[in-house]
Amino acid sequence: MAKPKIATDWMGDCAGCHMSLLDMDERLLTVLGKVELTSSPITDLKHPPEEGVAVGVLSGSINNTSNVYVARMMRKRSGCLIAMGDCAVLGGVLSMRNAFDIKEGLRRAYIDTESTVDGFIPQSDELAKPIRNRPLDQVVKVDYHLPGCPPSADAIFHVLNELAEGREPVVEGEALKYD
């Protein structure tokens, strides 16, 4: 029997969740012995295959139109979808931005920053448009939530291993952390 397929991707985040995933160290081999990793931001292939995967993992929050696109594509192509990390589960650090107007934020980042000279706000039709920050489950249906900033390698291993073994992953005890 072919191994179940798994794909990961990231949206608005710091890449810490994927670092934590790599922190599984030799247990990566255990997981890769049980599943096939088709694509991820840290492999050559970036996008989940059209024919779909059993498990999709998304880190990061929804912050712009590109994130919405990534989220919808992953949802469409995954049997079950995991929100990995506080950004995907709760909105994360980027949600602090919601306390301000988006225009105000862009100005601060591209023009008012102390080190910026002759700043301007990049504008192009090819660029994603910033939108209000929100967690993944406000855009697509999420099957399992794995909070943590980032979730520990132990917690990520637990969830992936449970799914690979065909069990429901329950995040509790030491694996459940919001920071």
Binding site: D86, G92, N98, A99, P135, H145, Y178, D179
Partner: protein, 568 residues
Amino acid sequence: MTVLNVTINGKTMEVAEGTTILQAANAAGIEIPTLCHHPALKDIGACRMCLVQIENMAALQPACSYPVIDGIKVETHTPRTLEMRKFVLEMLFSERNHYCMFCEMSGDCELQKQAYAHGLAHWTYPTPNPKLQVDASRTYFIMDHNRCILCRRCIRACGDVVGNHTLGMMSRGAKTMVTADMDEPFGDSTCVSCGTCLQVCPTGALVDRRSAYGGRNKDVDTVNSACTFCSIGCRVNVITRNGRPLRVEGDWDGHNQGVLCLAGRFQPLETGRRRVTTPMVKRDGALEPATWDEALAAVAKGVQAAVPGKIHAWVTAATLDQPMDAVVETFRGKFGGDVKTLEAAPPPGETPNGGAMKDIDTADLVLVVDADPLTEHRVLGYRIKRAADNGARILVCADGDNSMADFAHEAFPLSKLDWALASVTTAERPVVVYRAAMDPRLRAKLAVIKAVCIPLHAAANAARAISLGLNNEADGDAEALYILLEEQALTPEQREQAHKAPFVVMHACYVDDVDGLADVVLPAPLWYEREGTFHNIEGKSERVRPAAPPPEDIWSETSVLQQLSLRV
């Protein structure tokens, strides 16, 4: 005492009337989750975390504020109670900003702990996240309304425990806010910065500026000790990390009942002053670092050059028993010199005493004579205000401005003490709080009335100084003067007098206190590095424990005095 039967989770027990379901459950080792409950505060059932199922009752009831009724049958952990608690948590998380990843309290927060215990892997309800104010107008701690769960522990602490009534609630529903006075910034309000609200807050809403991000409970050490910054001697817990003090908390089991004042909780950690870290000896008119050997030799030489009658020692009455005894043994016993205290000592005569802090709680009248407890013995002042809330009459008999006078039912000048005492005789359980060093003729009047008396001393360990026969009639004819100053300060007059002595040794903590005055400086350990005993306001011997070791080159005061004694 009426005994009631209660069955919790099938376990039947007997409890006294008035016991709440929560108390009964805790006594039986059954844990019910709580948030707004705090053992030192009155329960009000604000958060609904503790909901339990009572047989034959449709609605769930809060265990913390539901008194046991005879024969009552309670279930604490049913699918329904668990679901309700989860719902309560979901609501709390959706109400304000609880993104723990950037919260100071994360790891020690009671709300977070409950969310973990109830397996909240995400929040079901949207988080509208109103952008609320962060009020940083107070010097020592910050209120972040975004983390507040409106449990009202702070309000109850401020009102019921401290008797200060600064805090209250404003508006309703999702708009409810904790406010100070009539919605003033906290820093401009009637808040006295006692920090009791900070100590009871279960979340990251109240944040200590100094200890913020300094370490979680699992990373820190806690040492039970006592505050020696006034003669009340409040019991404290000193929290340190790697030998660095982070904060001071009130000990709920002390006579201060967990309450401290800003002089005990915050100020001692915020001095920003340069510390004396090595012995110093004056060479060519300037103080220079020296070894202990050189410094002690210089002190011995200076002392030996003086006529014994002109060897004087001034000691702060805030010091512990052991150093105070050692100064007296060395300077009076061995050198034949004269020892005085830096702070005002009571004149000879009877100093009526014996009162305890808890006597104030049951008093029907409290008379304050020639003292200003809200300024100088604050925790006692708060206790008196609390007594007033509970119906006690407060009389103040003092001259000049007195911060207690605003809260008194009647105020008299000191010349009208007889009038005030006339009211005392009509009371059933009167307590008289007075300045120990007051005019002995007036003090004698207190000795003959029927009342519990609490003398207030000018320094923490004045009682020891009195028993050693020390007074503070310091004079200026010393040829060699030793001053045990620690972190206290000389008055301008004392400084001037000290200047007249040709040879001055200062045993002190801070450089700016000794500069320009001392010929030899001996470094003293700071308050949280000292070990010993003293007597608190109730006359009880209290232990002071070191929360951190002193820096390498700072010896205990008693061993310095011993060494000195051996050299002369």
